[in-house]
């Protein structure tokens, strides 16, 4: 039986680069919000937020080196979240 935890971690330097990337994306999303692009503002903000979220997930939350169980269960959650969002809009859109 495995008692100790497997050691896998990111070096401080990697984590710091990740932080810089996240701060840069924050800067970008704030600056873009001052430019009026109509409908695209929403999508750009959501794409940048999702990118930041993915970075946090992969590096800070270690999803990058997790096994299949966690990866697929996470994707499953996002899939059901997608169903919740799309079906709600389907309903509201055709009322």
């Amino acid at each position: 039986m495995k008692i100790t935890q497997a050691l896998h971690y990111f070096e401080y330097k990697t984590l710091f680069m990740v932080l810089l990337a996240l701060l840069a994306l924050t800067g970008i999303t704030v600056s873009v919000s001052f430019i009026d692009l109509g409908k695209f503002n929403v999508w750009i903000a959501l794409i940048i937020a999702s990118t930041k979220g993915a970075i946090v997930l992969l590096f800070f939350m270690h999803m990058k080196y997790e096994g299949r169980v966690l990866v697929f269960s996470f994707l499953g959650t996002i899939f059901f979240l997608g169903i919740m969002i799309s079906f709600t809009f389907w309903d509201v859109g055709f009322r």
Partner: protein, 198 residues
């Protein structure tokens, strides 16, 4: 060691809980999205009332705190106790600063008559009432998560200090870190929705 512990099982359990959190906040975001489509101009007017500076500063604070907590988890595995304690303490401090900011932000809003069931909102445009209702519910629920996350980080900090969390057994610290990162992740979506007024 006589007692067996299933470290990867503990992590899976934590993730299952985090999935429910994702659906919880996901549901609130759906609510936001549907009302945004219906009352777009009111939401945009409402968003202009929020101070973007508070949002940006709190985003930066949470990102830094996530980084230091992630660094602390690395430090625990590298047996660098001092670094681990510093990382967790920095994360805690950032959480506190976040809450102080939130306090000033909310007080300012309440002073200017914007709070649930206030006259200004009830008699004003319906869309703005909904916008600020969602603002208080979502940021409030997120704030509660910050407080819980800080409690978990504090417990981890104490256990690292007393040697209860080591490089061989650090599930508690790791799971507390996961919770903290999720709270950061949720803020990453709250920030553009309310402050950049999509």
């Amino acid at each position: 060691m006589s007692s067996h512990s299933d470290e990867s099982g503990k992590k899976l359990g934590m993730w299952l809980f985090l999935y429910t959190e994702i659906i919880l906040f996901g549901g609130l975001f759906v609510l936001y999205a549907v009302y945004f489509v219906r009352y777009a101009s009111d939401f945009i007017e409402g968003g202009k009332e929020l101070n973007i500076l508070f949002g940006v500063v709190n985003t930066i604070i949470l990102l830094i705190s996530s980084f230091s907590v992630a660094a602390a988890i690395t430090a625990i595995q590298k047996k660098e106790k001092k670094m681990a304690v510093t990382g967790l303490a920095t994360g805690l401090l950032c959480g506190l600063v976040f809450l102080v900011n939130k306090y000033f932000e909310w007080s300012h809003k309440i002073d200017s008559g914007i709070f649930p069931n206030s006259e200004k909102l009830v008699d004003g445009p319906v869309g703005q009432n909904i916008f600020f209702g969602l603002y208080y519910v979502i940021t409030g629920l997120h704030g509660i998560h910050i407080i819980i996350g800080m409690a978990l980080l504090f417990i981890s900090l104490v256990f690292v200090q007393t040697g209860k969390i080591t490089h061989e057994r650090f599930s508690l610290a790791e799971n507390s870190g996961l919770y903290w990162h999720l709270v950061d992740l949720i803020w990453i979506f709250i920030f553009p929705l309310f402050y950049l007024v999509i």
